[in-house]
Symmetry: C2
């Protein structure tokens, strides 16, 4: 019972009365087989419960059909939404997703990519962290395609997908100004990833263009708790902000909860809030948060289509895609 005994193409061949190559071809789209034998093979396969061994196929073809997803904090709303989108797109493209968790430790992403190489993945998509240069080289040298999402690394080779973070941040300032806010604050985390810093920089720059200063507070790792702590700090200042741009929806949720339940502030009357990501909770009645929608579907589509694309047509090298984050107006800013 415990012994693993899969049915092989040879057995199917015998049952169908054809050669083993025939059954191989019957399962290879576009191969040279007559319709009659193809049917006979398929029938025999069905009866025996045969399934092509993708390990062996991958060994021969030198491409496994596996795409490795490297991600930390999978359980976070934005990450899991992106993950859903990616796996769906991959399945549609006939690939299969391999999921590798990373933590904050240094070699974590590198180990994930090693796994990818060991399974001869056709490519890897990195949602968190950055790979070491050496391992990136190793991947590329092996014909592994790499996609970096929202991690701006400047080495050539990988496809880099990013958003217009700074421009988006600029639009927040005009929204705040139009709402009559004057004391702007930015709630960031200490993670310091390029996209977070771009939002901060863009916000500050646009504020300066309006002649406004920005109070910046950073704490923790872009989660709900971090938002509460930052709120705690910002709202106890002598000069209390009347508008906050949070680097992340999760932080915005924490911020709003703290503002309401600990400081009894009313949103948007006394405080305007804008977030980023448009996670599901942003649309919940308790938050009703105006925020920027990450185009997760578009991100996934371009990642997958580049991974599965023809190498000659798309070019394996140093692409950079910039996508647009759309502002979703809800009720956390006055006068939407």
């Amino acid at each position: 019972m415990s012994e693993r005994d899969f049915v092989s193409a040879a057995e199917v061949a015998k049952r169908a009365g054809v050669s083993r190559s025939a059954v191989s071809r019957a399962f290879t789209p576009g191969a040279s087989v007559s319709e009659s034998t193809r049917q006979r093979v398929l029938q025999a396969a069905e009866e025996l419960g045969y399934q092509v061994n993708h390990l062996a196929r991958g060994l021969m073809r030198n491409e496994s059909g596996i795409v490795c997803l490297v991600v930390s904090e999978v359980a976070t709303p934005y990450r899991s939404a992106l993950l859903r989108e990616l796996t769906q797109q991959l399945q549609i493209a006939g690939k299969v997703a391999m999921l590798v968790n990373t933590d904050r430790s240094d070699g974590s992403v590198d180990r994930a990519l090693q796994q990818a190489i060991r399974y001869r993945a056709d490519g890897s998509i990195i949602l968190s962290g950055l790979p070491d240069k050496s391992i990136t080289q190793l991947c590329l040298r092996n014909g592994q395609r790499l996609v970096l999402i929202n991690r701006d690394d400047d080495q050539p080779g990988p496809l880099r997908i990013n958003l217009n973070d700074d421009e988006a941040a600029g639009r927040v300032v005009t929204a705040f100004v139009r709402a009559g806010c004057t004391k702007l604050a930015f709630a960031n985390s200490e993670a310091g990833t390029p996209s977070l810093m771009a939002r901060e920089a863009g916000f500050i720059a646009a504020a300066k263009a309006h002649g406004l200063d920005v109070i910046v507070e950073r704490y923790g790792w872009t989660g709900y708790e971090a938002g509460r702590v930052v709120a705690q700090r910002l709202l106890t200042r002598s000069e209390r902000p009347d508008a906050v741009f949070c680097a992340t929806d999760l932080m915005a949720c924490g911020f709003m909860d703290e503002a309401r339940h600990q400081f009894s502030l009313s949103i948007p009357d006394q405080l305007c809030v804008v977030g980023f990501d448009d996670i599901e909770q942003a649309s919940w009645a308790s938050y009703n948060l105006t925020t920027f929608a990450q185009p997760v579907a578009a991100i996934a589509r371009s990642a997958v289509s580049w991974l599965t694309g023809d190498p000659s047509s798309s070019g394996l090298d140093g692409q950079s895609v910039k996508l647009h984050a759309e502002l979703v107006w809800r009720g956390s800013v006055r006068g939407g």
Copy 2:
């Protein structure tokens, strides 16, 4: 550049001045190699950037190290938390997770399991839906191990992990009664999965034991929106419930938001609410929901340890594990 050209064990062998078998053994824990040659091989491998080809290894050993996770609605808080736990445990156990999305369509789970077989996965863990009997047979016949989480199927073979849903539901009734509630309601979805139905049945039974009736309302698929709709229906009844047990935290969040923002009810003063799952949002200040914590870590541990366990010791057959959902007291019920 586009050609995939991995370095093979043969090249490592040549560089290290040993036979190909030696390098194979150097990478196989517990194989018979002298420490000196092992070091030489490892060094050569390092220099060449060699990574064992797990496709070929899996082909030989007839076990790939892949475990397939079959799940729908990955982006849901409870699902993604379970997913995080599972992938972590799998990585610790030296396995790697393959993620397959399913939708509500019928053959969806079956297709996922076919993928698993094609990649000769060592086992599959099913978080959503139920496989067809025939495909289950196929899996088991192939020595694929199967784990079903919260899906009570009674066919022998797979490991079935469940919670004490009905007993838990009973404790909700005593909590409501102690809070002085008399008009009980149960907010369910139309999904009709065994665990949801067990919660409903357990709740009704315990209420009856207290001489109380329960109004049941079912709508949609256990999400936030479903919770709002059910609230809409329940709270417009002539005899408005003063206590609601929601089949799911997500539904509870929707329910609470609707109750507060559309019906201006105060929780827990006018309405007590209990949920199930203990998703992260349940602990957010806006909800502060008393609910049952799914022991996701324990679930993942038992699933993985059974999958990776010695077949002779654990026995491949018909295990059933029942785990305990712990009540987490927060502020959505009076008198916690």
